[in-house]
């Protein structure tokens, strides 16, 4: 921009400011859902230090701000991947087949709490929790049922599993073997992000050090044997759900990502062996532009650091590919049908932010697991965005917006400040140990709640626009008898397998856990012999110990 035009611009802005000074705003503060202040107007002055080629460039080109593929959704739409799973493998298999028949393009498995925490269904700690928030998987027998009639070389599957991720990946590989499909043909993702468990989601089993060892074992094994598999999905979703701001979600997630990169390098792996298979998972909350800026900033920060700090050479190591889920915490139990509208706007921000796959929440998830009807509406929401709104026809359509670019820059700068603070603690693990992330998130969550309670923030149907209707939504009920059935099923597996082989495989695993061997081949051999998830995790628990958190609020 020439200096003459810049001068005119400044004069114009002063004139406009003089005009607005005579007007009155309808509220005291305008802020994002993360409590960040928003200016009334953004102008070229807000992005005057930006360089198009340095900061934006072209889609598929460094620093990838505008997207990871050159043609983005003109080539292929994002994967519509609805998270589902409940009761036993039989019921969940039926739901997967239904979703696939309705045009869903990838699977995403939700496990129940005992599976997530590494307990078999008949363990005393599993009492009352079997099949409640996801599907119960105890052994290879359940996994064979879960994917029965679904050829695993023709679909990609995401599994939301962390502490026992190694076991579930091995179960998937062994299930594919039974279908006659080799591991190198498998595509999908395990979440496998233990750092965010300590920070936010709190489904840990082992202490950090052995947990990180399991993760680098998976990096090495998957890089060699399951090359199309995303060996970790570094997740901001749960950090946000726990109450963080958008910047905290961005910064803490990327900090976790860098910690995995450093762990891989420290374990002696070439960064370009494993970094191309690192993937990300973000939340799509209600603040439309803030979310779009977050995704764009994330791509840029990741590419810059991977290249400049970690010396990645393979272009694929620089690409931040991510899944998005709309914000469960933004849904309201009051007038629950309104959640369809919330989810649609959130999904739109994810698409405008260039997501690679997307889960849209069902309106009833604040009340129970989604019914078939509400799950279908959620999927249709994505299909409407893809087919009817036209937003997927051009790439990164909001680039060049003074507001969106200024916000993208600001989020990057604020994330960098968080990286410095984490560095001062001595890294992510040390900061977890000090309760830094946990306290930051708890503070933000409490502030948000206070803003609602003082009516500084309006949530439709909660603190304004309320009505006395009781929701008439048919909820999915989990029959309590399935717990008993599943317990019988795992007991039958223990009776019918070759227990000598199984015991030997578990003994081999125990020995390996005490050495520095990669544990994946041992776990794979154990699951092939129908060792249960609980038995495998118990062996590791005995060797590694269990993590305990200092409770703070």
């Amino acid at each position: 921009m020439c200096s003459d035009e810049m001068a005119k611009l400044s004069q114009g802005k002063r004139d406009w400011e003089a005009c607005t000074a005579k007007t009155e705003d309808r509220q005291k503060k305008f802020m994002t859902v993360s409590s960040a202040p928003i200016k009334p107007l953004y102008t070229p002055e807000d992005i005057k230090d930006m360089s198009f080629m340095r900061d934006l460039s072209y889609p598929g080109s460094y620093p990838y701000t505008r997207g990871v593929q050159p043609n983005m959704y003109r080539g292929r739409l994002w994967t519509m991947r609805q998270f589902a799973g409940f009761a036993t493998a039989v019921e969940s298999n039926e739901r997967y087949k239904y979703l696939l028949s309705q045009g869903q393009t990838g699977l995403s498995v939700a496990f129940d709490m005992p599976t997530i925490m590494g307990y078999d269904s008949d363990h005393p700690r599993s009492f009352g929790e079997v099949g409640r928030v996801g599907v119960a998987i105890d052994s290879l027998a359940d996994m064979e049922t879960l994917f029965s009639g679904i050829p695993l070389d023709q679909i990609t599957t995401s599994m939301t599993i962390n502490a026992p991720a190694s076991v579930l990946l091995c179960l998937y590989i062994a299930t594919a073997e039974k279908q006659g499909i080799a591991a190198h043909k498998l595509g999908g993702t395990i979440q496998n992000d233990i750092l965010k468990e300590y920070i936010a989601q709190k489904s840990w089993i082992f202490p950090p050090e052995p947990s990180m060892r399991l993760i680098t074992d998976i990096f090495a094994f998957a890089g060699q044997h399951v090359p199309k598999w995303n060996s970790v999905s570094i997740s901001g979703y749960h950090i946000r759900e726990a109450g963080s701001t958008a910047v905290q979600e961005l910064a803490f997630t990327l900090a976790d990502g860098f910690a995995y990169v450093e762990a891989g390098i420290k374990a002696g792996l070439d960064v370009d062996l494993f970094a191309p298979r690192l993937s990300f998972f973000f939340n799509a909350h209600m603040d439309f532009f803030e979310e779009i800026a977050k995704y764009r900033a994330a791509r840029r920060i990741w590419a810059r650091r991977m290249k400049e700090k970690y010396g990645a050479k393979d272009e694929r190591s620089l690409l931040l590919r991510f899944h998005t889920q709309t914000a469960g915490c933004s849904l309201t139990a009051q007038q629950a049908e309104n959640n369809i509208v919330r989810t649609a706007y959130e999904a739109l921000s994810a698409v405008l932010g260039g997501t690679q796959s997307l889960h849209t929440n069902s309106m009833d998830e604040v009340l129970a697991l989604p019914s078939e009807k509400s799950a279908r509406i959620a999927l249709r929401t994505q299909q409407i965005i893809a087919e009817e709104t036209g937003v997927a026809y051009t790439i990164d359509p909001l680039a060049g917006s003074y507001f969106v670019e200024a916000m993208t820059n600001q989020m990057e700068a604020e994330a960098e400040k968080y990286f410095e603070r984490i560095e001062q603690y001595g890294g992510v693990l040390a900061a977890i140990d000090e309760g830094f992330f946990q306290q930051e998130i708890a503070d933000a969550a409490y502030r948000y709640q206070r803003e609602i309670e003082t009516n500084e923030r309006i949530i439709v149907g909660v603190n304004d626009y309320t009505c006395d209707e009781t929701p008439q939504i048919d909820l999915l009920k989990i029959d309590p008898s399935i717990e008993l059935e599943q317990c019988k099923r795992v007991q039958r597996v223990r009776e019918s397998r070759d227990n000598l082989v199984c015991t030997n495989r578990l003994a081999d695993l125990r020995k390996a856990a005490g050495s520095s061997d990669n544990l994946m081949p041992y776990i794979l051999d154990a699951v092939r012999a129908y060792a249960t998830e609980g038995e495998i995790i118990q062996v590791l628990r005995e060797v590694f110990g269990e993590y305990k958190e200092k409770p703070i609020f």
Partner: protein
């Protein structure tokens, strides 16, 4: 009992579920509301919750459950309270609990109140003050 004594509350996360946002927000709001709050931390068994409640001599236990295990956990807590002669401790809950389950829990005497998402924390504080006062009267 001394009239000046602060109301003592145990906020507990029973079961395997790790979603502690609600529990922590409520714990802080109760503390800001002038109560003594003890937070158990995560992954507690019903036995651990009841033991902590008795040891800490609380007036009330607040159970936060988002994992769908409420229909087994609330009755188990009540059973343990009775076994330990501590059935005078008030039990309330919060989380993802469908309306007809709330009715069953309250009608069955397993909980005196269940607060679901969207509740004003001020309403919880007021309810606890009122309920504890009635109990002591």
């Amino acid at each position: 009992m001394n009239a000046e004594r602060k109301i003592r509350v145990l906020v507990a996360k029973p079961g395997l579920d790790g979603h502690d946002r609600g529990a922590k927000v409520v714990a802080r709001a109760l503390r800001d509301g002038g109560m003594e709050v003890i937070y158990t931390g995560l992954h507690q068994t019903p036995e651990q919750v009841v033991e902590a409640a008795i040891q800490e001599d609380v007036d009330l236990i607040g159970l936060s459950i988002l994992s769908g295990a409420h229909m087994t956990i609330f009755p188990r807590i009540q059973e343990l309270l009775k076994e330990n002669n501590a059935a005078d401790i008030i039990v309330m809950g919060g989380g993802i609990v469908p309306a007809d389950d709330i009715k069953k829990l309250i009608d069955g005497g397993y909980a005196q109140a269940i607060f679901t998402p969207g509740t004003h924390t001020g309403d919880i504080v007021a309810w606890i003050r009122e309920t504890v006062k009635t109990k002591l009267a």
